[in-house]
């Protein structure tokens, strides 16, 4: 056996308190599994923000519609990577598709993911960009023109009738997409919530809490990307759009906070057998990540900032600053939420008699650096997507010498 792993386990054993079953010392799901619900949450949230425009006709947030879609796509493409890298045998992952166990929540991942990617996001992005792709294919030079032609799946028709069909298709896909986004993240919550062996996870509220925290983090992410990218393009931030997005974020934070309070009060009031060890878990192991980062910095401070913005008529620049700070704090808070669920749930023994410790590695496939790289990767994908499919400008049809519009 690897002597480093042995050394790490001995260190963990020295740091552990109380009694643990001997196989329980090692934390099985590492920081990579923290990333997975965090990333999919961002996808679901960003998509729901985008759907506000098409389904609920919230015109104010229209400037971020395409950006939100591309953000969702970029993060969805990377979301399965941490899962795949975490497997003991990544080369066997295809069995999940070939011989899935219908009673396993995790086996359904492949199908929910494939449905969401193929039937919702890619299809919607394609219809949204089809006209642009056709025009780019005509107006750019080879090889880019060829890339756009392939991306448009060689469609050429941009007559008003065809564009009308696109609009209808987008509406239908978005309507299907909202329950799909709920499914995508609600089911991630179910993966944890359905483990009856673990009282920290086993809760019927888990999918709903996951869902609302996903909406919170996704909207906050699009706000951040919008606030950073707009000045970079030399444009003015549309304050009406920003105010509306932040209002929705505020409402989502309220629902999320209420749900988490409900979960907390419910556990405390029922005071089941596990309550003692869970209290020790929170007080001994999760004070920083749960009380300080998740509740105080990630929830209470942004909430107060939003209340201040709503109550007082603040100047535009100050509002922007507060929104920006709130959105960053919310990201920190939601990441901590994922940490507290995934890592927190493995720090106590199922004998309810002891606590172990998670010693994160710096290097290695499940190390901190890998996790940081996996967090940066979606932004690189997003940059490429934005370059290829600019969300802000649409090409115009240009008349040519022969009089045919291109």
């Amino acid at each position: 056996m690897n002597p480093e792993a042995l050394h790490r386990l001995s260190e963990v054993a020295d740091a552990a308190t109380g009694y643990l079953y001997p196989n329980e010392l090692d934390v099985q799901w590492s920081i990579l599994i923290v990333l997975y619900p965090y990333l999919t949450g961002l996808v679901a949230g960003a998509f729901i923000l985008a759907s506000l425009v098409k389904v609920f006709n919230v015109k104010e947030v229209a400037p971020t519609y395409r950006l939100a879609l591309l953000t969702a796509l970029a993060f969805l493409l990377i979301a399965p990577l941490p899962l795949q890298m975490h497997l003991g045998h990544p080369e066997r992952a295809f069995w999940i598709f070939l011989a899935p166990n219908p009673t396993s929540a995790m086996a359904m991942f492949g199908f929910v993911y494939a449905w969401y990617l193929m039937a919702v996001l890619l299809l919607e992005v394609w219809f949204v960009y089809r006209r642009d792709l056709v025009l780019y294919a005509r107006q750019t030079r080879w090889p880019l023109s060829w890339v756009y032609a392939v991306l448009s799946l060689f469609s050429r028709d941009i007559s008003p009738k065809a564009l009308e069909f696109d609009r209808k298709a987008i509406k239908v896909i978005t309507i299907i997409g909202i329950p799909s986004a709920f499914l995508l993240h609600g089911y991630v919550g179910f993966i944890f919530g359905s483990i009856k062996a673990n009282p920290w996870w086993s809760s019927v509220l888990m999918p709903i809490v996951f869902l609302f925290s996903a909406i919170v983090s996704g909207i906050a992410l699009v706000i951040l990307i919008y606030m950073i990218s707009t000045p970079l393009r030399g444009q003015q931030i549309d304050m009406k759009c920003l105010d509306t997005m932040c209002s929705y974020l505020f409402y989502a934070v309220i629902v999320d906070f209420s749900l988490e309070c409900l979960d907390f009060i419910h556990r405390l009031y029922e005071s089941e057998e596990s309550i003692n060890i869970l209290s020790r878990l929170v007080l001994d192991k999760l004070v920083i990540s749960l009380v300080v980062m998740q509740l105080l910095l990630g929830m209470a401070v942004p909430f107060l900032l939003f209340v201040i913005i709503k109550l007082f008529n603040l100047a535009e620049e100050l509002r922007k600053l507060l929104y920006f700070v709130a959105a960053i704090l919310i990201q920190v808070g939601i990441f901590s939420t994922r940490w507290n669920v995934v890592i927190g749930g493995q720090l106590f023994s199922k004998s309810f008699r002891g606590l172990t410790e998670y010693k994160i590695e710096l290097l290695g496939i499940e190390g901190l650096l890998t996790a940081i790289a996996l967090l940066i990767l979606p932004f690189i994908v997003l940059t490429v997507l934005i370059r290829l499919l600019p969300p802000w400008d649409s090409p115009t049809e240009r008349p040519t010498a022969t009089g045919v519009a291109t």
Partner: protein, 247 residues
């Protein structure tokens, strides 16, 4: 490729995929027919009062089943409970890397002390089988839960789902590993290694269906209890004289 050609190959692929799945399922069904006919259902009885905490069962298990020698991986282990006069309980697993502190308890503070051998409970409703995404972990017709280490992807969902801490990720194979009731022995009529070596016969093994089996004799003579009954996993490891404090 024209449209007709495309559709033709599409349907051929689809049919062969469905066909392959059907054959695989049929193969599995026939594979499980043979043992079902003998109708055995394996279970274990553990007499808490007879265990002296010698740890022979742990050693036998490790050498019989190629369990990693390091003190962090166990298919079976023995817990030592020391109940103090003030009601506090100190617990430890003997022979494992030292966690818990019964040794620190002064003799005059001790109310009573006992050992509890633990292993996979071979549940009738196994949460590990339910959650395995690729059906690498499965229940045999004898009710034994096994892991196919050529199929296991190492996701560790089963380890999370097991309420008894009976599973671990094998550090060399990178697949889930657990007690098999020594399936390679018991399916040939032999006893599991831990039962074979127990000097006090604290562990008994047998067929739950056969009234004359040592297990059923134990169940007739004593009151038995299972671990974490409230989780409805229906364990097939039965304990006699089990203290309420054991989880």
């Amino acid at each position: 490729m024209n449209r007709r050609g495309f559709l033709h190959s599409f349907w051929s692929y689809l049919l062969s995929f469905v066909g392959a799945r059907w054959v695989m399922r049929a193969e599995r069904a026939t594979a499980s027919v043979a043992p079902e006919e003998n109708g055995k259902l394996f279970g274990m009885g553990i007499q808490v009062d007879k265990c002296i905490g010698c740890g022979l069962c742990m050693q036998a298990c490790k050498s019989e089943n190629d369990v990693p020698a390091e003190p962090f991986y166990f298919r079976t282990w023995v817990e030592q409970y020391v109940v103090k006069k003030d009601g506090e309980v100190a617990v430890n697993s003997i022979g494992t890397y030292r966690i818990g502190s019964p040794e620190d308890v002064s003799e005059k503070d001790v109310l009573r002390s006992y050992f509890v051998p633990k292993l996979c409970n071979q549940c009738e409703n196994p949460p590990c089988v339910q959650v395995c995404p690729v059906r690498a972990t499965f229940k045999t017709s004898e009710g034994v839960i096994l892991v196919d280490d050529t199929r296991c992807i190492g996701c560790r969902y089963c380890i999370q789902a097991c309420p008894y801490g009976a599973r671990y990720l094998h550090p060399v194979k990178h697949t889930a590993d657990k007690c098999t009731f020594c399936y390679h022995r018991t399916s040939r009529g032999l006893l599991p290694a831990c039962v074979e070596v127990c000097p006090t016969q604290a562990r008994v093994f047998g067929d739950v269906h056969r009234m004359a089996s040592p297990l059923n004799r134990l169940k007739r003579m004593s009151k038995v209890h299972v671990l974490k009954d409230h989780l409805n996993t229906e364990p097939k490891v039965f304990y006699t004289n089990l203290d309420g404090g054991v989880r």
